[in-house]
């Protein structure tokens, strides 16, 4: 790891000021991806701005049907939240299966969404739940937020404060894990709000998380695993690597989608 300067702001404004002051500064959330990346000398931020001590970024709130989760909320807190277990158990269950227990104690929702790793779990949930990403400067719809591999709509110095979404009627996530890393090799989040169904896929797309339109249409017409039998998942634009070919990933997407619908 290259040398770096550690900062611990206690307000969003202070954090933004620190980040803006130095173009090579990076926000540090749980650090469960950033620190390993730095250890391998693949990232060299001059300054790290620790976001975990900003009160405004913490906590899970239910306002009517709207669920608001602070960016610095850990995976363990999301998994263990009674409010979420009742309002959106699919998301709590997703969080309960990110990484391992130690990662879940440190890693945060905001960190995962800001990093947008193509094999991370949360981005699929944000997209399928039609979430809004609330940042230090604006609100961004998930559809506009995830822009590619490790790419998001966030500007330099802009940090995520919270995410929010309407509690779905039904939602669940199913993933097939890479046997080595245990990251998603194909993870599918399905969510139903009234007649609208959204299906988002992570771990598989060569351009990162994406919505699966054919599945959304099929499930909107008939919310059942069997409705997906007729959907053909194209292997085009899917990742192809040591652990999974594009064709295998296409097959896994369909299998995971069915299992998610069955679990929802």
């Amino acid at each position: 790891m290259y040398e770096t300067n550690y900062h611990r702001p206690s307000t969003v404004e202070e954090a933004v000021a620190l980040l803006s002051a130095n173009p090579d500064a990076k926000p540090l959330a749980g650090g469960q991806t950033l620190i390993p990346t730095m250890k391998q000398r693949l990232a060299a931020p001059s300054d790290l701005v620790d976001l975990r001590h900003i009160e405004a970024l913490r906590g899970i709130k239910l306002e009517g049907r709207r669920i608001i989760i602070g960016a610095a909320t850990t995976h363990a807190e999301v998994a263990g939240s009674e409010a979420l277990q009742s309002a959106c158990p699919g998301l709590a269950s997703l969080a309960a299966h990110i990484g391992d227990p130690h990662v879940r104690h440190m890693g945060t929702l905001g960190g995962s969404v800001a990093n947008n790793d193509p094999a991370a779990d949360y981005p699929s949930a944000m997209l399928a739940l039609d979430a809004t990403i609330h940042t230090s400067t604006r609100d961004i719809k998930a559809d506009d937020y995830f822009t590619g591999l490790f790419e998001t709509a966030l500007d330099e110095g802009e940090i995520i404060v919270a995410v929010s979404f309407e509690a779905p009627e039904k939602a669940a996530y199913a993933k097939f894990a890479n046997p080595a890393s245990l990251y998603a090799m194909a993870g599918v989040f399905v969510a139903r709000h009234g007649a609208g169904v959204r299906v988002a896929v992570t771990g598989a797309g060569s351009d990162g998380v994406f919505r699966q339109g054919d599945m959304e249409a099929a499930l909107s017409a008939n919310w059942s695993p069997a409705a997906l039998d007729s959907v053909t998942v194209s292997a085009d634009d899917l990742m192809d690597d040591l652990h999974a070919s594009a064709a295998y990933r296409a097959s896994l997407i369909k299998t995971m989608a069915k299992r998610a619908v069955a679990a929802a």
Binding site: M1, A180, S181, L242, H243, A244, Y248, S251
Partner: protein, 781 residues
């Protein structure tokens, strides 16, 4: 058997320090003035070094020295060598290429060490290592052993034309060909044994300290055999004469073979500590471990097994190509020859066997012994063949095996080995009963109702431990003897220290070895200390590998105990005015059998050291040493049965049940023996289902971290059902065969036999990863 003696499942003495964080591993060692080394390694699999510029690195903060291969050569440090000479079938010696501890002129695999940087802190050393500029000219690369033998393949070493190290054979070619020609049935297969990375959880490390005033070196290192390390460092690498070099292997976090060998880093740290004048510590990170620890396996084999009309095996013909990587590691040559082809008779009467083995250089990490070392490859061939043949012949796999089992001992195989004892049918019966083999069809049907494909597979393995006798292995090319040493020191108060040439890095010697002493002298375990791993304390010994520490290491202790016991009884007889033949040692006393005359054990020891009242002519003291050179290998054997369920939608295989029935001969500590089997099975399941080592065409290791190399985790494995049958080993005093590697040897074919049974295919290449299973099922459909 007492509560703490032979046969007792005693919890380990050494656990207290390991469970409280008080273990002392090499990276835990700190010496005054210590600095840290970082290696600059080749990013290319094959390249010429055009130039090295260390000037920028030398000016970096904290840097003490930046050293190259040229400087190492100036100081006369030798090349690394392979210590087992194998000749080709035409009589020519093996073609061993040069391996300089720091590359000179050329690099031959990704990870090849080129420059070492020594700096105040680990981070500064790494910072400076990045500033070393090396100008490479890339050369064509070959990573696959079969490709490396083809005309026009890139040449890894100038003195190994066609990348061939040796072309070796064993057995009778003509007789085997004739058996195949006259067979009623021949089963043919082409089998790949996947390359594995050992992955001991403690990365390799070295701390070297040069004492200028004494002209003496001390090396703390992660070694399974510190004396062999000292011998090689002294005799071949020219670091220092043995009396000027102390090697200490403190607590070592697993080895599995990978810590037998002497690697460039230890040599360089020793040399650098003198050259820079500071103690130098190096600790591998996990990526370096993946890149540079000696890998295991990596065979491609074409094999034919011939049967007569009654399903008796007539012959076995084997043609193997083994990838040894870019350099010949210390014992690499022996693994695909004497540790592999000599086991090709398995548990079966096979009248004619011929095996041809070609070993090959490629631009990959060196390959050497990894848990099982040759025997897993042999067992995998045989047990996949037996399964496949049974299916082709329409008989049950158990019946085909039973028909061909060796039943009379000693049994001389056509491939050197003479099996001394065994009861293979007993293991098979016990395993089938434990696995409820007969109930499998019902379980398969139940699984099918859940959409799962259930399969069952068995494997009947034999292996050979305690490579011996030394004169015989010397005749086969070994550069060392394979005996073991022990010294038993009874202290003046009756407590005991045992100095053993074996080394424990997880095997529990501090407990098991102490049980031997406790049993013999009737003293509590906590009065016995086992000392190992330090060349200044312990007499020359050969270390721990090849499941040898029970059969060979403990036999040496038993021999030394015999001598101590004899002397103690003489002293006791003298004190008790009795005949030494009437003395027995029990309940902490030396007693005159059949009388109430006795003297406490500690008083016998005290008498030996006060020497006030010893038999005429007896030397004072109670301390004896022994060297034990076995008269034969030992032959652990057993039967493993595995049941799996495959999810046809994802290709994922779940191991539902794993039954092991092993014959390790006599057992000193069943708790520890079972633990060895568990660990071996886990590594075998890893090989069969999870672990693969993939290089791309340019020689980059694609599986260089736990992100891509699938290590078995708790959720990948079931609880195991382990049991034993016993035929004592006739060739050593304790009747022990060895248990360290059996699990890794016997389990992979059981797994793959089960997977192929589940998905209804003849063969699948290891590892049967979800992707590979899914693709196999898809291709079938």
């Amino acid at each position: 058997m007492g509560l703490q003696g032979i046969g007792a499942a005693v919890p380990r003495k050494e656990d207290r320090r390991f469970t409280t964080g008080a273990g002392r591993y090499t990276d835990d060692m700190v010496v005054q003035g210590m600095r840290h080394a970082a290696f600059v390694r080749s990013p290319h699999a094959h390249a010429t070094i055009k130039g090295i510029d260390t000037s920028a690195a030398e000016g970096m903060p904290g840097v003490v020295g930046v050293l190259t291969g040229a400087q190492l050569k100036e100081d006369g440090i030798g090349n690394l060598i392979c210590g087992w000479a194998i000749s080709s079938k035409d009589g020519s010696p093996m073609n061993m290429g040069e391996w300089s501890p720091l590359a000179v002129g050329k690099v031959r695999y990704v990870g090849d060490a080129v420059v070492v940087v020594v700096a105040e802190t680990r981070a500064q050393a790494r910072d400076a290592a990045e500033a070393v500029m090396i100008d490479y000219e890339e050369l064509p690369v070959v990573v696959d052993a079969v490709e490396a033998l083809k005309d026009g393949a890139p040449q890894v070493h100038e003195n190994a034309p066609g990348n061939l190290i040796y072309d070796w054979e064993i057995g009778e070619r003509d007789a085997t060909d004739a058996a195949i020609a006259g067979a009623a049935h021949v089963t043919k297969m082409k089998i790949r044994n996947n390359r594995l990375v050992p992955n001991a959880m403690e990365p390799r490390a070295a701390l070297a300290k040069y004492d200028k005033a004494e002209d003496h070196y001390t090396l703390w290192t992660t070694s399974q055999n510190p004396h062999v390390a000292r011998l090689v460092l002294s005799a071949f690498y020219n670091v220092a004469p043995e009396n000027k070099l102390r090697v200490i292997a403190p607590d070592v976090g697993g080895g599995f073979g990978s810590k037998i060998y002497i690697y460039p880093e230890e040599i360089v740290c020793l040399w650098a500590s003198k050259r820079t004048g500071v103690p130098v510590k190096w600790v591998a990170d996990r990526t370096e471990s993946f890149l540079t620890d000696a890998h295991g396996r990596d065979h491609v084999t074409e094999v034919e097994m011939a049967f007569d009309a009654e399903n008796r095996i007539l012959g076995l013909k084997v043609d193997t190509i083994a990838n040894l990587g870019a350099y010949m590691s210390l014992f690499s040559s022996a693994v695909p020859t004497y540790l592999y082809a000599t086991l090709l008779s398995g548990q079966y009467v096979i009248p004619a066997i011929h095996a041809n083995v070609r070993t090959v250089y490629t631009n990959t990490a060196p390959v050497d012994a990894y848990r099982g070392a040759g025997r897993p490859e042999a067992t995998y061939l045989l047990e996949r063949l037996m399964e496949t043949a049974a299916r082709e012949l329409g008989v049950s796999p158990a019946e085909l095996r039973r028909k061909n089992f060796i039943r009379e001992f000693p049994y001389q195989t056509p491939v050197i080995m003479c099996y001394d004892a065994g009861d293979y049918e007993a293991s098979l019966d016990a395993a089938m009963k434990a696995a409820d083999w007969d109930g499998f069809p019902a379980r398969k049907a139940e699984a099918a109702s859940r959409g799962k494909l259930r399969g069952i597979g068995m494997s009947c393995y034999i292996e050979a431990c305690g490579i011996a006798p030394s004169a015989a292995v010397g005749a086969l090319g070994a550069g060392v003897g394979l005996w073991e040493s022990a010294e038993v020191r009874v202290n003046a108060v009756g407590t005991v220290e045992v100095l053993t040439g074996s080394h424990s890095h997880g095997q529990g010697h501090e407990t098991t070895f102490a049980q031997l002493v406790s049993d013999r002298f009737s003293i509590p375990l906590d009065q016995v200390n086992i000392v190992h791993g330090d060349t200044d304390k312990v007499q020359m010994g050969m270390g721990t590998y090849g499941s040898r520490s029970g059969a060979v290491g403990m036999s040496a202790i038993a021999k030394a105990l015999d001598k101590v016991e004899t002397k103690a009884k003489k002293i006791a007889a003298h004190l008790l005015e009795a005949d030494e033949g009437d003395i027995v040692i029990e309940d902490g006393h030396c007693k005159v059998a059949g009388t109430d005359k006795q003297v406490p054990w500690f008083q016998v020891a005290l008498a030996a050291y006060t020497a006030h009242n010893l038999p005429d002519g007896m030397e004072p003291g109670l301390k004896e040493g022994a060297f034990y050179d076995p008269s034969n290998f030992t032959f652990p054997a057993g039967c493993y049965i595995c049941e799996v369920e495959v999810d046809p939608e994802t290709g994922k295989t779940e191991v539902i049940q794993f039954v092991a029935s092993d014959d390790f001969g006599n057992i000193i500590n069943p708790l520890i023996v079972e633990g060895q089997v568990h660990g071996g099975i886990a590594q075998g399941i890893g090989q069969a289902l999870l672990e693969d080592t993939a290089y791309d065409a340019s020689g980059q290791l694609l599986t260089a971290s736990y992100m891509d190399y699938a290590m078995p985790r708790a959720a990948d494995l079931p609880s195991f059902q382990v049991s034993n049958t016993v035929t004592p080993c006739p060739s050593n005093p304790l009747g022990i065969k060895g248990c360290g590697e059996a699990g890794a040897i016997g389990s992979p074919p059981a797994l793959i036999n089960a997977v192929t049974d589940a998905i209804g295919v003849r063969d699948i290449t290891m590892p049967a990863s979800p992707r590979r299973v899914w693709e196999t099922l898809n291709a079938k459909a």
